[in-house]
Symmetry: C2
């Protein structure tokens, strides 16, 4: 349960191609080849998937949310069960988000205090306070391998002055999180903020680097800003981060964005998109996305994606998946999630191979050539 | 796809203890030890379960509903996919219900004609007619191993005169179904009706026996009548049925009712109860039922059922299941269904062993001694 020493944590570079990096993230619960995508298990479960399903789709590390688990079932319940690994029976590495993003999303249900954020639960309206100290306490008791500093994620259209203020608060809280964190064998990552301003991103990355965290996340991107703005901000941050520490781009999970992030030197990603999309019937194929609910798939007896080896593609037809979605059958969500996660895992593994073989740029180009980002792919007949 | 000759179907007796029988149901898609419980896959999927999950919980034969599949995805879609086995990728035996029960349940959305029933779809209000001929056509094209005659299931509190009339109609339709059924390798079962009246049940069983079906169902029970009335009607029917053909009690699936049916010579059962209950958090344990949503299980770290070898019990704690149900997580439904089906499969397998070892009465008694039918079991602390 992550009780080993911090020596158990690290990131070992294995190859680089341009800015893109391949490596190995070492944690007390095993190693993870990077780049890596972390499926989101908000409430200590990746929706519709068993732990063995997760293994089968190639997931190596999962994310859980401190905010949700703190409210339900409560940190004490998870702690009594022996921590998150034992509670959810996932024996691989786990990362917990700090709750910063969720708390700031509560908008008019929260107020900022000098020390943190006072908020009302989205479940029952009860009042709670998150401070760097309480968030560290919760995450240490949840027992993930990697925990995140408490940060403020400013809205993408906030004025620069506000973004700067939020960044300063994030820096201040990063210091306090570091002071409050005492769990050996658990790695605390700092979170770079600074909105879409490259100079702020650079400043933030430099300041956090001076605190010497074992890894760094880039937060507050993919929240509504354009792709170009995101790329510029990301580059500015990465430039100022250590080359020997893992870099984690938060909340990014669309195939094209994963590759864009990898191309800029990111090692870790998480996002609800592949799993949430799956439950809406939006499925990832090499050419982009299809919506399996589309009537055109009603009698399509081909597998969802040609050449995919996931259980869904190896077993069922598009016609059957279409039927399950139309009939709102629970099996639809499991089968779709199985496919989307397998697809992403395979994409990232291919990207990693390309980096190790120094052909990432071609790989990226070839991906972009065949890939369409809209759900406009029609079945061939 | 069930294209073999009818020789492929049969029921071989293997042992008897009192009225209770053990046997082997032989179908074109493999053999099923009886007594057997058939999980219900209404819309060509047992809710929340993959076919491999079904194998793992010990299911050997599943049921699907003609009424639902006829409306969605439509018989043609299933037929084009190569039939139900291929469509849902279940390679074991399948039984389809005739739709009689569903159509009669539509109450004010249906009218009886001389030849069948005119009804409006519960999905879109469109008008359809089910007759013995159309129902046979649909079931033959769906391609199950066992299909059911079109019958009328009278309400449990209908006057005797109406029950008699419905029984006569069921008999008339049984003849027409037999005439319309031409699929070799697919066994057509007759359905005994007659409400709670033992003499009508006897009459119905005798009449259907004279038509010489390869198997017989007892329909119209477990629809609200009392347990004693059900037992008396069941006994009257079974007494007049062939001892060499399989007997199927429709819509019965509570553990105590399965054993009561087995004790009276029933070989096959189906019911939505174990799977529907699972999705409501009502879970079967040796002592009866527990509702895992109960706050008492919040920090209960024991497995759901002591000694159960299902994936759920072998992997997770009651506390985690409680959390999944409270958080309305999809995984809850899969894990709960996995357990309830495993529990029932094991119960029936134990009953079968007891019959083969001539100790079924003791087994039944010992079950009743420890079993409580209400959800009032509290956790030990």
């Amino acid at each position: 349960m992550g009780r080993e020493s911090l020596e158990a944590f690290g990131w070992e570079p294995q190859g680089q191609d341009g800015a893109a990096r391949a490596g190995l993230l070492v944690t007390p619960h095993g190693s993870v080849p990077t780049p890596a995508f972390m499926p989101v298990g908000t409430q200590a479960t990746v929706k519709s998937m068993t732990p063995r399903d997760l293994r089968e789709v190639g997931a190596r590390i999962v994310l859980a949310n401190t905010y949700h688990l703190y409210l339900r079932p409560g940190v004490e319940t998870v702690e009594r069960a022996g921590g998150l690994h034992s509670f959810m029976q996932w024996d691989g590495p786990i990362l917990t988000d700090s709750g910063g993003f969720q708390v700031w999303s509560l908008a008019n249900r929260r107020t900022v205090t000098a020390d943190g954020v006072r908020f009302r639960s989205h479940l029952d309206g009860s009042e709670h306070v998150f401070t760097p100290a309480t968030v560290m306490d919760a995450q240490q008791r949840l027992g993930a391998d990697i925990v995140m500093a408490f940060d403020e994620c400013a809205p993408h259209d906030a004025p620069r002055s506000y973004v700067e203020e939020a960044m300063q608060r994030t820096h201040d809280w990063a210091v306090r999180c570091k002071e409050a964190h005492s769990q050996p064998g658990q790695a605390l990552f700092g979170i770079v903020q600074g909105g879409v301003w490259p100079d702020l991103r650079g400043q933030s990355a430099e300041y956090l680097s001076s605190l010497d965290f074992p890894g760094y996340a880039i937060g507050g991107l993919s929240v509504g800003e354009g792709k170009t703005q995101m790329a510029v901000a990301l580059e500015a941050a990465v430039e100022c981060l250590s080359t020997t520490k893992p870099r984690y781009l938060m909340g990014v999970g669309a195939p094209e964005d994963l590759l864009a992030g990898i191309a800029r030197g990111v090692d870790m990603f998480d996002c609800v998109l592949p799993t949430r999309n799956a439950r809406n019937g939006t499925l990832l194929v090499n050419e982009g996305r299809i919506n399996i609910r589309n009537g055109a798939f009603r009698q399509d007896l081909r597998p969802l994606e040609d050449g995919c080896t996931c259980y869904t593609c190896a077993t069922f037809s598009r016609a059957y998946l279409h039927h399950l979605f139309r009939a709102e059958e629970l099996l639809a969500y499991t089968l779709a999630t199985t496919h989307n996660l397998t697809h992403l895992t395979r994409l990232i593994a291919s990207a990693r191979d390309a980096i190790l073989e120094s052909r990432f740029t071609e790989f990226h180009q070839s991906f972009l050539t065949q890939y369409r980002t809209r759900s406009d792919i029609q079945p061939h007949t």
